[in-house]
């Protein structure tokens, strides 16, 4: 009876899993193809397995399946009476079958495709059922399913997170279940099943816990899709021009380690801004030039600031004139960072958000209290619009700060010499840093450099991105211009960095003194910031066809006295970034990230604890007997009971050791068995004493000290 119930249970598990696995294939269909009503097929699959489970006679199950197919096709496509539907299906088969062999698949109607799909599913269900019930094997199909989900997740819009988790959890369980079934077939192993369940579930649970707790890094490689696609394009283009292998660049991206290639127009709206002034929108700065592109300075340092609270971050020295402005940003795309103007003072959002600025890149992430990223839909900004006094810029002495210089004049060792030479040539004869910077900025406007988005080269393996643009192609877009300017500035020892963000975008309308701008992916932009001692970072715009939205005020309005005192007290006006760098452990950041860490730590601690308990349990025979000996060493209560307790504890140890006592076995019989196993007579001696304690009228006094040795010897024998 039990056997039968167990059998049915096993069959149910197998059928259920197979059915689920097949349905897992159907789930992404609606997302990745133009299939609709996938649930119709899922029901069909479920029905197939249900029929297998019930062991329906074959003719009944065939009838049921065909009836379902007719019903489904009719209610999806034909909407006629069932008799007519059958007729129509026959007609379609007759009509489309020849096409099948003529490879005219595109001409098939949806109804015929659905019909064939039903058959395919039928076949799959049958094969799965066959493999499962006769061979008890499914690894191949399981591996295929994982691959299928992974491929869909990578190359299509389908998000396979849930599917992957389900596959891991249920799939592993099912595979081990099948393994057990195969073993059961080979030899009747009724024992150990429970341990297997426990071990299997523990392992899966541990895997899930680890997966859940461990940090989820963002993709470490660039999205392979673009690469694969560009590779395909490159293959096509190679026929015409073998030299032009290109990387496509779409909108604002995170990864700038390989620049170059054509820029594909993408007019997806990123955000709408209501603003009082036209200016650039910053996202982040990058400062390591590799010869192929840009990378960020690696730093974990974050500076946190609260919603609607002043940053406390001084962008420029007081020498720079500022004008307080407000703006509102309405995001149309979801990002975990904000776009902000220069001179940002406050950000205000509805959400309970914490802003965390990466000190190295000045990228501002939006997170919640527990440091989880929280994309904002819209936010208000208060900022200071700067006006840079040209005289102060001109008066700025060369930068001396060694750390700053090292970081912002970094260049790759293999930078071609002609780049340095060109920079020196342009800068020669210019007395101040400002004039040198201006000269380099202007250089692009007069020397035949062209703004170009489609015919842009990618540097070859031994080519430098800047070198290629400056001397060979002279065609490019913002990245080419800005990178080249930064590199040239650095070549002559002026600290400069590369900034990414958006231009001011397209003006839509003017409303109550505010301008409404629409910023699309096409407005993604990059420009240059140059550090001026005593002033701060100043934006410059080298790209052909773009103008710097910031005002450089003429000398008459800026008396020379203004900037000069600032120069005398440079320490106060040190670049904020430096300040941040000098205070590596900003308290608020740590405080705020604490809850998140502690939560994860708790989970990790729990996992470690579980692992420890598990190990302790597995190795118990090595330490438990000794623990018991120690326990009784210091137990000095109630002499008689102590021996009884010790004896019962010995029984537990022996049982754990593997010397099981049947419940119908008397202590003497068991003692004889134990003694036979260990080749002693200690257990019998001990048992005869214990017997007196249990069965005699006046409980005998057994001196614990007398039997202790016997008992300890036996306990030690259970160590293995």
């Amino acid at each position: 009876m039990m056997e039968a119930v167990e059998n049915i249970g096993r069959r149910m598990i197998i059928c259920g899993f197979a059915c689920w696995l097949l349905i897992e294939w159907l789930l992404p269909l609606e997302a990745v193809s133009d299939t609709t009503n996938a649930e119709v097929f899922m029901v069909f699959v479920a029905a197939c397995f249900l029929l297998y489970l019930l062991r329906t006679p074959i003719w009944i199950s065939v009838l049921i399946k065909i009836a379902y197919m007719i019903y489904a096709l009719n209610s999806l496509f034909y909407h006629v009476s069932y008799v007519q539907a059958v007729k129509l299906i026959f007609q379609e088969i007759a009509h489309h079958a020849p096409m099948l062999f003529a490879a005219r698949w595109m001409e098939w109607t949806n109804s015929f495709r659905s019909f064939l799909f039903f058959f395919l599913l039928w076949l799959m269900a049958y094969l799965l059922h066959y493999r499962l019930f006769t061979q008890k094997r499914l690894f191949l199909f399981y591996a295929l399913t994982v691959t299928y989900i992974a491929v869909l997740d990578t190359f299509t819009a389908f998000r396979g997170n849930g599917a992957i988790i389900r596959l891991v959890v249920f799939g592993f369980f099912f595979l081990s279940f099948l393994h057990m079934e195969r073993l059961r077939e080979k030899a009747t192993i009724a024992e150990g099943i429970r341990e297997w369940w426990g071990a299997c579930l523990c392992l899966i649970g541990l895997a899930i816990a680890c997966g859940y707790v461990s940090p989820k890094l963002p993709p470490q490689w660039p999205d392979p899709v673009a690469f694969v696609k560009s590779y395909a394009v490159a293959q096509e283009e190679k026929r015409d021009d073998p030299a032009s292998a290109k990387v496509k660049k779409i909108g604002y991206g995170q990864n700038d380690s390989r620049l170059g290639g054509p820029f594909i127009a993408d007019d997806t709206v990123v955000f709408i801004a209501e603003d009082e002034k036209r200016h650039y929108w910053r996202v982040e700065t990058k400062d390591i030039y590799t010869g192929k592109g840009w990378e960020s300075f690696q730093s974990e340092q974050l500076q946190s600031f609260e919603n609607n609270v002043d940053l406390g971050y001084s962008w420029w020295s007081p020498a720079v004139k500022k004008q307080l402005m407000t703006a509102s940003v309405h995001m149309k795309q979801s990002y975990f960072h904000i776009v902000y103007p220069y001179g940002l003072r406050k950000v205000k959002a509805k959400e309970n958000v914490v802003y965390r600025m990466e000190a190295a890149t000045e990228k501002i992430y939006t997170t919640d209290r527990s440091a989880y990223t929280l994309p904002l839909a819209s936010y208000d900004i208060v900022y200071e619009y700067p006006t840079f006094p040209i005289e102060a810029l001109k008066a700025a002495p060369p930068v001396k700060d060694a750390g700053l210089l090292e970081r912002y004049t970094q260049l790759p060792k293999n930078l071609p010499e002609r780049v340095r030479a060109l920079a020196k040539q342009i800068a020669s004869g210019k007395p101040t840093q400002y004039e040198q910077v201006k000269a380099i900025e202007q250089y692009f406007h007069t020397n035949g450099y062209m703004y170009e988005t489609t015919d842009v080269a990618v540097p070859g393996k031994n080519e430098d991105y800047v070198d290629q643009f400056l001397f060979e192609t002279k065609k490019g877009y913002c990245d080419n211009f800005s990178t080249s300017m930064v590199v040239m500035l650095r070549a002559i020892g002026i600290p400069a960095r590369w900034v990414k963000g958006y231009t001011s975008g397209r003006l839509l309308e003017e409303k109550n003194g505010k301008y409404i701008y629409e910023i699309t992916n096409n407005d993604a932009h990059s420009w240059v910031e140059v550090y001026f001692f005593g002033i701060g970072w100043v934006p410059f715009e080298p790209t052909q066809g773009f103008t710097n939205p910031y005002v450089f005020s003429a000398p008459q309005s800026a008396p020379e006295t203004a900037p000069l005192p600032e120069q005398r007290q440079p320490e106060q006006n040190r670049v904020p970034l430096d300040k941040v760098r000098e205070q590596p452990h900003s308290a608020p950041a740590e405080e705020l990230s604490l809850p998140a860490l502690s939560w994860k730590q708790a989970a990790v601690a729990l996992a470690v604890l579980l692992a420890f308990v598990w190990i302790a349990y597995r190795t118990r025979r090595k330490w438990w007997p000794y623990a018991t000996i120690v326990r009784f060493q210091y137990k000095r209560t109630k002499g008689d009971n102590l021996f009884a307790e010790a004896y019962l504890s010995l029984l537990r140890h022996l049982d754990d050791y593997g010397l099981k006592r049947n419940k119908g076995q008397t202590l003497r019989q068991y003692a004889a068995y134990v003694d036979d196993w260990f080749q002693t007579n200690e257990m019998t001696k001990l048992t005869l004493l214990y017997e007196k304690m249990v069965y005699q009228q006046e409980t005998a006094r057994v001196e614990w000290t007398e039997v202790k040795e016997l008992w300890e010897n036996l306990i030690k024998r259970t160590v293995s």
Binding site: G664, T666, R668, A672, V694, Y695, Q696, Q697
Partner: protein, 316 residues
């Protein structure tokens, strides 16, 4: 014997004495003594010639008891067993002529050959310890121990003992054939004088009665009693058993265990005693269902099964 426990010295003497005659049947000898001490009776079921009579005679001689033998035949009447009142013309009154049952140790040979009427006369006497003839109740001598035998081979013209009667025997034992060496030894000993003629009493009747009293003092712990009852109750609940063990069975088991513990010089009963005795005490009190019989299950196997299933008490 599972453990090599030494016997109580007096008992050891008796056993040794009986073993001069009965070779290699220590268990049967000890069980007989146990029954004698526990005031029970024994049913020996075996083929003729394996020494059943010899065992009883040796035992009787060892304890210096009066030995009587009744050969049960189909025409035996109850009065032939328990005695009869005869009119004494000289005294002008009825005089009781004691039957062969008036002995200390009575061998009831081939008990299943006689009519149920005679059988029940014996068994009543066994149970009550006295006989009633012509309205006068006469006590049987003390100690009183019956060892009945029955032949399992020839069933023709026999009256198998009903369940109610079997219940009155404490043990049902089987002698079994001796081994080769044992049988040779038997021949050696019987070469000149039959050894039964040579053995001498080792204890007196009074001593025996004293021993019987001592047996009753052997302590049975609550947990062991519970163990006995659990076993007996399982026999009543078992699906393959038609009739389980009666409460008389549990009393017999406990008393036998007391005697057995005493025989081994112990003042208390341990589960091992119960386990050793259970097959002899319980098997003949169980009727296995016909279905189970067809499956090859015997009462002995059922008892073994029950023993396996009943948890042994290992704690107070």
């Amino acid at each position: 014997m599972e453990t090599n426990e030494t016997l109580q010295p007096t008992i050891a003497q008796v056993v040794e004495n009986v073993e001069k005659v009965i070779i290699g049947k220590r268990d049967v000898v000890i069980l007989s003594i146990v029954a004698l001490l526990a005031k029970g009776h024994v049913l020996l079921e075996d083929v003729p010639g394996v020494g059943k009579t010899m065992l009883v005679r040796a035992l009787a001689k060892s304890v210096n008891a009066q030995f009587k033998r009744i050969q049960f035949t189909p025409d035996l009447l109850p009065s032939d067993v328990i005695g009869v009142s005869v009119y004494n013309q000289k005294e002008m009154q009825f005089e009781y002529k004691p039957g062969p049952i008036m002995g200390n140790i009575v061998l009831a040979d081939e008990i299943n050959r006689t009519s149920p009427k005679t059988q029940s006369a014996l068994l009543e006497a066994m149970e009550e310890g006295n006989v009633t003839v012509d309205g006068v109740t006469r006590p049987l001598p003390r100690p009183f121990f019956v060892m009945a035998t029955q032949n399992p081979i020839e069933y023709e013209g026999t009256y198998p003992l009903p369940e109610a009667q079997l219940d009155r025997f404490m043990f049902k034992l089987k002698m079994g054939y001796p081994s080769l060496a044992e049988e040779i030894e038997m021949l050696n000993r019987s070469e000149k004088v039959p050894p039964i003629e040579e053995i001498q009493p080792v204890i007196t009747m009074d001593e025996l009665l004293h021993l019987q009293k001592q047996v009753a003092d052997v302590y049975v712990d609550e947990n062991v009693k519970r163990y006995i009852v659990e076993m007996v109750q399982q026999s009543r609940e078992n699906a393959s058993i038609y009739l389980g063990v009666s409460p008389r069975g549990s009393v017999a088991l406990m008393k036998a265990a007391q005697a057995y513990a005493f025989v081994h010089g112990r003042g208390f009963v341990i589960p091992d005693d119960v386990q050793f005795l259970a097959p002899y005490v319980l098997s003949h009190r169980i009727i296995v269902k016909s279905e189970a019989k067809f499956d090859g299950l015997t009462a002995e196997e059922m008892v073994a099964q029950i023993m396996k299933r009943t948890p042994v008490p290992i704690q107070r």
